[in-house]
Symmetry: C2
Subunit: 204 residues, 2 copies
Amino acid sequence: MTAPKTAREPYRAALRTKALKIAESTVEEAGLKGLQARVIAANAGCSVGSLYNVFGDIDGLVVAVNERTLELLEEPLKRAFEANTTKPTAARLTALALAYMHFAFDNQNRWRAVFEHQPQSEVPAHYRERQARLLSLIEKTVSGEIATPEMRIRAARALFASVHGIIALALDNRISTFNAANVEGEIRFIVAAAARGLAEAQST
Amino acid sequence: MTAPKTAREPYRAALRTKALKIAESTVEEAGLKGLQARVIAANAGCSVGSLYNVFGDIDGLVVAVNERTLELLEEPLKRAFEANTTKPTAARLTALALAYMHFAFDNQNRWRAVFEHQPQSEVPAHYRERQARLLSLIEKTVSGEIATPEMRIRAARALFASVHGIIALALDNRISTFNAANVEGEIRFIVAAAARGLAEAQST
């Protein structure tokens, strides 16, 4: 006999919390490749069917883990944003970029999972909104130099992808052996040069 | 009875050429995940043992394919470099960046293979040299603005990783739905801003 929907809700919520916590630890320790529905279900003390009932499918579980990672990432980014509001744009952008770098270094597996995951279906709107909120920190930071919203979005995406690219290639030892000081130097170089470029574009 | 080494050399060279060509087409069509020693050997009409005898192991075959990709990439980059030697730094950097972007768009599977491959052992020196030669095109381009060789290397790596990051995130639809015009816009933005920043750093 199946319990009525309302009675099942607390169970679903508790299972969601428990399974998500286990999935987060798994990604933290073993990366995305370690995330197997069967193992997560066994550790959460439920069937794979119940797990999928809560998360939809394995994709839904990965998106939930990655959304938690974006939530964790938001904290240091917001701190960097708020601690530097009175500083020049270059210093503000650099603070955001280095906060992102430290998060990536300290949470490599979680961070990689966000970018490795190839979702089979459209990610939920609240995931996209969370992403957009992170990018908006950069948009706000360049708003003094860039007048139009669409150019601000372009600048924010370009700056984010640049800093991300430097970190990603460095962690994979793609163009040189990993060296944290070099990564920081490259990030400082591109962000400072771009910020000077923004200021100059403004003044001409 | 095994033929003496000298007699085997022409056979080895011919097998290398043939197998490499097959492996290149395979990566082009199916990406790195399509590259299986058994299938390449069958198509080249040799045993897996003979294939490994020529390339060392599957890693060696992938590196050989990726080195060919870097060789192909060098052509448009050199053309972009040589066609713009008299132009301002921003225009020269933009020409290199857009040539790289077009190569990535037109050769997605080959291009991804270069960055997806996780070599189990150190890549050969000639592979690293070829990579360094490509980066040196950027180093030469910023040499008017940046005096010291190590800062030029830093700038070249940062600029390359930035442009690469923009392309990679865009092709994976990471922060927005893929749109070639937006990718070009973001690349032009970051390269132009950075180039203006270089020029200004020089003049102050």
